[in-house]
């Protein structure tokens, strides 16, 4: 009976529909549409809540985790790079200091050697100078003696020539000596 009624209503509404009414306001069809709407909503709700949402949220969380990990790793690597650079700079500074030290040491050594050499040379020069002085003194002494000898012999000869037989060698020698001392 109810079946018949709905059929009649359906036919009636279709006739109205042919007349160009608004199918949206055809209240006889509402139970049908609401029923299928409910069915689809429930199906979509279960698809979403049982499958899609957990899956997508887990994927997003996983990706977030991966990104966080990657950023942490990158930070670590960066830290390492900074450390390596520091070590390199330190090594460079050390090497530079070492080089400076070696240069200073070498300089000192050379200075010492130089000093020694200079001192030695000075000593040698002093010795030579002393020797030379002695030699010069001797030569001077020799020269004075030679001058005395020459003067004496010359004076003797002159005296012999001027006054033969006069005077004697002793007087001449004394005279020359006094003369040379006075000169």
């Amino acid at each position: 009976m109810a079946q018949d009624t709905t059929e009649v209503v359906g036919e009636l509404t279709e006739q109205i529909g042919e007349g160009g009414g608004m199918p949206q306001l055809d209240f006889a069809n509402y139970p049908n549409q609401i029923f299928w709407l409910a069915v689809s909503l429930v199906i979509i709700y279960f698809i979403l809540s049982r499958v899609v949402l957990p899956r997508v949220s887990s994927v997003l969380a996983e990706r977030q985790g991966t990104i966080t990990n990657d950023i942490a790793t990158a930070d670590e690597l960066k830290q390492k790079a900074v450390e390596a650079e520091e070590a390199y700079l330190k090594a460079l500074a050390d090497a530079r200091a070492e080089a400076g030290r070696i240069v200073a040491e070498a300089k000192l050594e050379i200075q010492a050697e130089l000093d020694v050499a200079i001192a030695k040379a000075d000593a040698e020069i002093a010795a030579k100078a002393a020797e030379s002085e002695v030699a010069i003194g001797e030569i001077r002494k020799g020269a004075l003696k030679a001058v005395e000898t020459v003067a004496r012999s010359t004076a003797t000869e002159i005296i012999k020539a001027v006054m033969p037989g006069a005077g004697d060698a002793k007087a001449v020698t004394a005279a020359v000596k006094s003369q040379l001392k006075g000169a």
Binding site: G20, Q24, N32, R55
Partner: protein, 260 residues
Amino acid sequence: MAEDILGAGTEGADIVSAGPEFHPMEQFTLEPLFGGHAINWYTPTNLTLWMGVAIVAVILLLVVGTRRRAIVPSRTQSVAELAYGFVYSMVEDVAGKDGLKYFPYIMTLFIFIVFSNFLGLIPLSYSTTSQFAVTVPLALLVFFTVTIIGFVKHGIGFLGLFWVSAAPLALRPILAVIELISYFVRPVSHSIRLAGNVMAGHAVIEVFAVFVGVSVFIAPLAFIGIVGMFAMDVLVAFIQAYVFTILTCVYLKDALHPAH
């Protein structure tokens, strides 16, 4: 006689043969899938068919598309993730952190409406969201759920939503009446907005389509009109789903935090 002429019916066209036939609302007619005329509450109709297509599309895009669970997503997977993130941030921003409990329901609404809207744009398809029988239950569902949540969470304190404590005392009863009316108008505007927008777009396209057949000179213009309206409808299909969802979030926020 006269009613036949102006009733925009098939009979009218015979008499006024010069004028075009307009059946902009005929595309929304509910028809049984397997012949016959009777539409019982269980009869599979074209509405059933296109809701089924929507469900299949949901399965294809959201279930099959994400089955690989890739860290670097494929195209379909990133669409699914985009939809998830879009609705999730909407619920979080508008309804607040405690609204996230209702995220699956709001996501269901959004996915159902957005898929129905876009499938309705396929030529010769049946747009399910243009039916008041579809959108009114949706809006009533939201309305009752939100009201029940409000009363369960805050008891009688939920009525504070209508008592604007920021206003002067003398104005408060008047404002309470206005707030009460606007509260009960919510499901009306909520449902009619969605169905009306979708229906309007389809009906206008249909009218333009009639003009294509009228004359060779009007046809190009009408065709441009169809293309423009279609582009507009693509926009509207998304925006209306967005607006429906965000209004749901706003109503949910009112239920969770009724204080003004």
